[in-house]
Subunit: 502 residues, 2 copies
Amino acid sequence: MKEKLEELKRHLAEVYDLENVTSLLYWDQSTYMPKGGAAARGRQLGTMEKLVHEKMTDLQIGRLLEELTPYGESLEYDSDEAALIRVTRRKYERAAKVPAAFMAEMSNHFADTYQVWTEARPADNFAKVEPFLEKTLDYSRRLAEYFPYNHIADPLIGYSDEGMTVSTLRPLFQDLREQLVPLVKAVTDRADVENTCLRQTFPEKEQWQFGMDVIRQLGYDFDRGRQDKTHHPFMTKFSLGDVRITTRVKENQLEEALLSTIHEAGHAMYEQGIQMELEGTPLASGTSSGVHESQSRLWENIVGRSRGFWEHFYPKLQEVFPEQLGAVSLDAFHRAVNKVEPSLIRTDADELTYNLHVMIRFDLELALLEGKMAVKDLPEAWRERYKADLGVFDPGDKNGVLQDVHWFAGTIGGSFQGYTLGNILSAQFYDAALRAHPEIPDQIRKGEFSTLHGWLKENLYRHGSKYTAMEITKRATGSPLTIQPYIAYLKNKFGELCGLNG
Amino acid sequence: MKEKLEELKRHLAEVYDLENVTSLLYWDQSTYMPKGGAAARGRQLGTMEKLVHEKMTDLQIGRLLEELTPYGESLEYDSDEAALIRVTRRKYERAAKVPAAFMAEMSNHFADTYQVWTEARPADNFAKVEPFLEKTLDYSRRLAEYFPYNHIADPLIGYSDEGMTVSTLRPLFQDLREQLVPLVKAVTDRADVENTCLRQTFPEKEQWQFGMDVIRQLGYDFDRGRQDKTHHPFMTKFSLGDVRITTRVKENQLEEALLSTIHEAGHAMYEQGIQMELEGTPLASGTSSGVHESQSRLWENIVGRSRGFWEHFYPKLQEVFPEQLGAVSLDAFHRAVNKVEPSLIRTDADELTYNLHVMIRFDLELALLEGKMAVKDLPEAWRERYKADLGVFDPGDKNGVLQDVHWFAGTIGGSFQGYTLGNILSAQFYDAALRAHPEIPDQIRKGEFSTLHGWLKENLYRHGSKYTAMEITKRATGSPLTIQPYIAYLKNKFGELCGLNG
């Protein structure tokens, strides 16, 4: 059995290499590739994804998994080997359901769509990308049809948040929405927060350097990563020793680059924290989109927008930008960074309204997949929902339906639920860390993050994908997914900030 | 047959994609990869090269080639299709001789060696890399043994300069040497050229920008390429639409970055000039190492070190560096850029002594492969030859045997002859272009390069690998490889510069 396991690992290491090489193609596409490289890059991605799929669905892997499954079940559930066999089997079975040619064709289409989107968005030209999106919807449906489902979005959701379905997410989101809407109203009624201090001119170079210094202090390891510029920030991994992030800088929006740098560093610290023993296997990555997002949001919001964090970092920021911030108090700055204001752009949204952005996308995805809405009606439906849910309106599509890359580089369906699951889980994990180490907030005030980082590594990061989102949540926090810590966190934070509790 | 040809092209396009993806892995390794990524990168390269080799030696390709060969021979020799079948067959047969597992193991070893070299070189520590080099020699020999040969270096030379052998190269180099040595002596006896004007401080940013402006004007297409920084300059290609170059800047050595930028742009213009119809096939790349080098050297030396080039560009360079160059005359600058001085470093060498550097490497490679010299004796042998041939001595290895990447990232054997072949051919091609367009030197004086670039595209670049080095040399210049134009060019140029003719 040991020998068979080694053989399995050899196969998996090859798949792992090819997947990571594919990620490098994407990274280069967004960072440094000249535009003349676009057409060939699409073909290269298609070729690689086809290969990955072929190798991952190799019958030899299926045979080995079948032979190894009883052995895996005889081992301790928590052992790396048991997890490897169990998790790989789930991934194998999912991959084996979809023909390689279909996957290649689809990913080729995604690459083309992405390229068109990068031109359509700045030109505010939805019509240009509409026919591509039509095809994307078709591909998304066809992909879902390879699986059994209750709701056609379920298989797509399963790709990123295994175990989650429309029937569990809808009531969860409904619950959350019922608590959020009155809170948003109370906060925006009560306080008219000034954030013009963030809208001065902050030269790019200094912003970039400050962000780099902050994440180094949080625990992002630059020997095993780097940060580059892209239109849309992201994290990507080429091995456990090479986990990169990207961001963009806006000179008149100070919080944008810094918080997105912290956000992506949160994702990256999760991947950098995975134990080396899992390298080269399907276990060497975060376990789900929701759990991944919980870490980006924990570091970005719960840490990066907290009073304690700024007690430490604000004097340093003032030193970097003395003219702009010298006369702005810590309190005023902290309130500005936490200004709640319904807006058009998800990634710029405050903590409270953010989930409303996500739910709009989630609902529209479902409507498209269910055939209740046509792609051509999407821009208008988008505008209507933003008006109804957030009270904001923009006649264009650039800051509307064209704002997020997701539908223009992947499926429609399964792309957004992870963001809200992540917000919910960020508070649940942080809450558990605080119970174990009540000294964490005091440490943050001093710019020390290693206790929090250490708890997260020990209880979450190092396990990679050994456990499902539900398993790891239960193990690390002692309870299943719950919105209570998140709601308590928001009420407490914004209560203090806006004097709602007083 | 048309159908079989299409099937062959599909296979070849996949191989082409995988090769180009592999090149991206190398590019990233030298430009942006954090050090933590090194171990996995080695594995990834191994996995990819194994795949490329497997795909290239797929029996299906062999079968298709066999069926298509009579058809290919029935077509016009100059047709793209005939060339595709003919050239692919040669490449296939070469690839099929070497087992995939051996290739993977060897390229893994090269990646490890490269990593060690990047640390050993700055530390001037040959011992650190010596055991790796021992293995490299062993791999090189074993690779050669898969082929029939007269001299063990012949198969290795054949990889980069097909058709060339030790028995043709030795007398050719001997001939050249006999003409070069007295010329070097005459030039260094006659003139004591001052080049301290190039040794002032020239800030990196301005040097970089000047180099970018120059190559744009020469014809390098930035929409289909880019330049990044690396320790060792190189050109690489990910598709005909994405041909990148790299360089390094030394602030106290003005000619270094500029000339290496032009050099790599010369390689890149060759690749960018290949006709799009050849994309995705083995024909879509330069035909041999020697012909490739002829283009980098033509642009770097025959153009970039010429009086006419500087008549146009020197006033612009003076504007960029008024303090450093304001008082230096065009004549003095032009002489400085062409200073002949025996030195330690090949890539810094002047046009006259450059080939002596190459011949030392060529002879040492042969001695190692023939078993006449041990790897451990290489540093000393290097020093002795430099003293004997160039009259220079350095007790360390950093600027000795460790200076070039080639043996530390590939085989020993076949790595260096292309440089001298390139020098010879650069003059032969330029001579032919002049015969067709005697107005070229006048145009260069005005900063116009399109006639020269156009002639090269038409007669050389667009053909990619359709013709062998010997074929294309004959077609483009009307005669087989000859050292006469090169010797005439050198005698004329240095005669004028040093008043040898007068």
